[in-house]
């Protein structure tokens, strides 16, 4: 019995961390149709910000929940002003430029901190189910995923900023005629997406090995999940993350972690073949 509980926890962990990883990318892709291939490096920057401030004596929770998103949000703002704003509407060019950006960020971080692994101890303790061990941090991650979902839903549905953002997403020209400045909306949306990605990096810092090249492990998965989810930010990302996260963990349980990954990639290919517009292009049309 205990083993099933552990597998269920693993699945929950897989889904919530995948969702947290993808949310920032989904916001940027859903709003502006820009694929940010430097997404993995935003995660890496969030993780570095957490580790470095935590090792400098900042409380780990503050480092994770405040420093990481603020820092990466600022970086995102600068990048949007210097690079991304010239590339709206040029999908392929934006992918190339952000790919270059990702190499650049990896290079800068490697030059400063070296190609070594850093880490912080996982906060919160562990608990046991039968003869198996698990950590409370897993539950915390799942809680954070739910909180982030609620926050994004709340901001998008009930605030003026959310209304303007959704309007700009639907029809930038019409929004502009009604007095909204789309450039500013894009700028703030990109920064918010970057900040959420930084938060995800900070949250995953205690449970992953932190190296300058760590983003590469995430970017393909995030890219695949967001595209598989389709245009709707929340429902699409959540459904794709649930599908891929569950496939990954269950596959890894029955075979090896390597074949778990292979299964996810295969699932992504089949999904895109069956639903070329992504999950939300078919089932949650027009939803958030």
């Amino acid at each position: 019995m205990a083993i099933y509980l552990i597998v269920a926890l693993d699945v929950l962990n897989g889904i919530s961390s995948l969702f947290l990883l993808c949310l920032g990318l989904a916001i940027i892709f859903g709003m502006m149709k820009i694929i940010n291939l430097a997404h993995g490096e935003f995660i890496m920057l969030g993780a570095y910000a957490t580790v470095i401030s935590a090792n400098a004596g900042v409380n780990i929770w503050i480092a994770m929940l405040v420093v990481a998103p603020l820092f990466v949000g600022l970086v995102g703002l600068v990048i949007e002003r210097c690079l991304i704003r010239f590339l709206y509407g040029r999908l392929v060019d934006s992918m190339l430029a952000t790919w270059g950006l990702s190499l650049l960020i990896i290079g800068i971080v490697t030059t400063i901190y070296g190609n070594t692994q850093q880490g912080v101890p996982t906060p919160l303790g562990g608990f046991s189910i039968g003869s198996y061990q698990s950590s409370y941090y897993t539950l915390f991650l799942a809680g954070m995923a739910i909180v982030m979902m609620a926050v994004v839903y709340g901001v998008m549905s009930y605030t003026r900023f959310g209304l303007i953002a959704r309007a700009t997403m639907q029809n930038p020209a019409m929004a502009a005629t009604l007095g909204v400045n789309p450039a500013r909306v894009y700028m703030s949306t990109f920064a918010v997406g970057a900040a959420i990605t930084g938060l995800a990096g900070g949250l995953l810092a205690p449970v992953s090995g932190i190296t300058p090249g760590m983003g590469g492990a995430y970017v393909a998965k995030a890219f695949m999940t967001v595209v598989g989810g389709g245009a709707a930010i929340l429902s699409g990302t959540m459904s794709a993350a649930s599908l891929f996260g569950a496939v990954n963990q269950v596959g890894a349980f029955f075979t090896t972690p390597v074949y778990g990954e292979v299964l996810v990639f295969t699932a992504a290919i089949v999904l895109i073949r069956l639903l070329p517009q992504g999950i939300s292009g078919r089932f949650f049309k027009g939803n958030l």
Binding site: G100, L103, G107, T110, A220, M224, F265
Partner: protein
């Protein structure tokens, strides 16, 4: 008259390129020759993506899938047969079969742009993960041990066709690799000047219009994809011949990214540009690697960002435009003719760049 002049100029350029390839080994050191051989193998890979991306309009993020398959197919066959002739053929056939299956799945499912990128990317990652986990004695094909993350060392290199004892010397390897590069370049140029090539470009320009004219865009794209897979497979065999080694990093994302950088820097929509971009970038990376002062990622990333923002057309088209402005053409037709001349000339230029 201009047309005839163009033909003569092209023929001269090809002859110059052949002479350059033939004479290079007697001019430069062995180390530089080995490096040039590597660059030429990589340039064949660059041509394979330049063809489908620049002329077919298909941006594949997983060109290394075919490159890696070609490399592994060659290595496994060469270890088993101890003869490179059938192995090279297999290194071309297996990736093209794989491209045929994958391409059928993609193009007949009418999957395009971002979605195509996701699929090609994930296929590459699947291959990387699978090959990476094949360490251990149970993973062997015939006599060939796959070796997982450590790869396959001591792969037999090319030999004289049908004489397995006569292994090619580094000079002969260069002739084969450089010759393959020139041959593929000329093959693609010929294809693009034929009606079939025009159809490929027509599909890139406007799929609906091409299909209204009676062509099936899915079939055209599939054939383009297969041809490019075959070329990438050949590049894989040439690469393995260079290092006598193949490992799973041949499927890596960073190599896929590098091919795209070569093409962006050299010029999308040309065949010469990617070769120039490939040699230039690979040379810079090798130089940085020997200097230890700067991180190569940093430089590559900066180069890519600068090119996308400031020089989106790439080096070769920009240089051509500049030349065009300097040399006022008497007639628009002649200007067009000049347009076509540079490629082979610069191909030889590139071969002699070292």
């Amino acid at each position: 008259m201009p047309a005839r002049f163009r033909l003569v100029a092209q023929a001269v350029a090809v002859i110059v390129a052949i002479i350059a390839i033939a004479l290079i080994p007697s001019v430069i050191e062995l180390f530089a020759l080995m490096q040039l051989t590597l660059f030429a193998a990589m340039a064949v890979l660059a041509l394979s993506l330049a063809f489908i991306w620049g002329f077919g309009g298909i941006l594949s993020f997983g060109q290394t899938a075919f490159f890696g398959l070609g490399g592994y197919a060659y290595a496994i066959a060469a270890v088993n047969f101890q003869d490179s002739t059938p192995s090279i053929l297999l290194a071309i056939i297996i990736p093209s079969l794989f491209a045929a299956i994958l391409g059928y799945f993609i193009f007949f499912g009418r999957i395009s742009d971002v979605y195509l990128g996701v699929i090609t990317l994930t296929v590459t990652l699947i291959l990387f993960n699978c090959v990476n986990s094949t360490s251990g004695d149970e993973y062997r094909i015939g006599k060939a041990l796959l070796g997982g993350f450590n790869g396959m060392p001591a792969v037999p290199t090319f030999n004289v066709p049908f004489y397995p004892d006569q292994i090619l010397s580094p000079e002969q390897s260069w002739w084969v690799t450089g010759g393959a590069l020139l041959g593929i370049f000329l093959l693609l140029r010929l294809l693009l000047s034929l009606p079939a090539g025009r159809v490929i470009v027509a599909v890139r320009e406007n799929e609906v219009r091409a299909s209204l004219l009676g062509y099936d865009p899915r079939k055209v794209k599939l054939l383009t994809f297969i041809l490019s897979g075959a070329i990438a497979g050949l590049a894989g065999a040439l690469y393995v011949n260079w290092g006598a080694f193949v490992g799973p990093t041949i499927f890596s994302l960073s190599l896929s990214a590098e091919i795209i950088i070569w093409i962006t820097v050299g010029g999308l929509g040309t065949l010469l540009g990617p070769i120039v971009g490939c040699v230039l970038i690979e040379y810079i990376v090798a130089y940085i690697g020997s200097q230890q002062a700067l991180n190569s990622n940093l430089v590559l990333g900066a180069v890519l960002v600068v090119f996308v923002l400031l020089l989106p057309k790439g080096l070769v088209p920009t240089a051509r435009d500049l030349l065009m402005r300097l040399v006022p053409a008497p007639k628009p037709k002649a200007q067009h003719a000049d347009d076509r001349v540079p490629p082979p000339v610069a191909a030889s230029h590139m071969a002699g760049a070292e």
